[in-house]
């Protein structure tokens, strides 16, 4: 089975929740998720952030739903890392 190991997203979000709360909410979606959020650009009401989520089996649809619930929107999927059927974790 092919598994998504890492995904990099370009996300537009309001200033609230903060990137720490934002990362915590995304991290809570998977027991082994590691989340890195970096502010790329800041406007008066919004900020563009780069979100990198790493895990043994990242659920992209769930991540996108959480981002939407928090008021953000995924502009693009910039990078993915998948492991093939025979690869070990």
């Amino acid at each position: 089975m092919v598994r998504l190991k890492q995904v990099t997203l370009d996300v537009l979000k309001p200033h609230q929740p903060s990137i720490l709360e934002f990362a915590n909410a995304l991290g809570a979606q998977g027991a082994d998720y590691q989340v890195r959020v970096r502010v790329a650009e800041m406007d008066e009401r919004t900020e563009t952030v780069e979100v990198v989520v790493t895990g043994t089996n990242v659920d992209l649809a769930e991540l996108e739903e959480t981002i939407t619930t928090l008021g953000g929107s995924v502009h693009s999927i910039d990078e993915v890392l998948v492991s093939g059927a025979q690869q070990q974790d």
């Binding site: 309001p14 919004t46 619930t69 928090l70 008021g71």
Partner: protein, 191 residues
């Protein structure tokens, strides 16, 4: 439910606003009850039922006024904020936490704004209730009520000191001074 509300309060940074509404309107409730009590005392009215009825009526009116005014103004402010954010995001945020906050935070703020004066008023007039129920108090019920109003005002002053990080005794004493000036004006104009 409570954790969701807590998250929305944090999202909208509303904790300070609610705290401010609680203190301001609690102060309103305590001072209003002090004014009513002193008015009754100055007029020579001694019927506890009359005093309780007037005070409870006023407390309910304060509560309703607090709930309705805060709900109307907060809803308008939150909807304005949401629209501005939607324009910045170029997206409909109704189904997001920001949308939920715009709907629920005005309700929470309104409840704080209304329940603060209502509950503090009902607390202050507790001696009048006790008198009405036939419990013997060490002094006249109206006097005990006035003293309790001063005590509650002092405690709200202490709370303000705790919030602002200033010396609690000073902020408590300042609140009592305001209540004393209020009482003095009532004595001056009502006799």
């Amino acid at each position: 439910m409570l954790s969701s509300l807590g998250r929305l309060v944090r999202l909208t940074r509303s904790t300070a606003l609610m705290r401010r509404y609680f203190v301001v309107n609690g102060f309103d409730g305590a001072l209003t009850m002090l004014g009513l009590t002193m008015g009754f005392r100055m007029s020579g009215a001694s019927d506890p039922k009359l005093a309780v009825s007037a005070c409870v009526g006023t407390a309910i009116a304060l509560g309703m006024s607090g709930v309705s005014s805060a709900y109307v103004s907060e809803t308008a402010e939150r909807q304005r904020d949401l629209k501005s954010l939607e324009q910045a995001m170029i997206a409909d945020l109704a189904d997001t936490e920001h949308g939920a906050a715009a709907r629920l935070i005005p309700v929470a703020v309104a409840l704080v704004n209304g329940l603060a004066p209502l509950s503090i008023s009902l607390l202050v007039i507790m001696p009048l209730w006790l008198d009405l129920w036939g419990l013997t108090l060490p002094w006249a019920a109206l006097d005990v009520t006035a003293v309790l109003a001063f005590l509650v005002v002092f405690l709200l002053g202490v709370l303000m000191g705790w919030i602002s990080g200033r010396f609690w005794l000073w902020t408590g004493a300042r609140a009592v001074l305001i209540a004393a000036v209020t009482a003095g004006l009532i004595v001056l104009f009502v006799r």
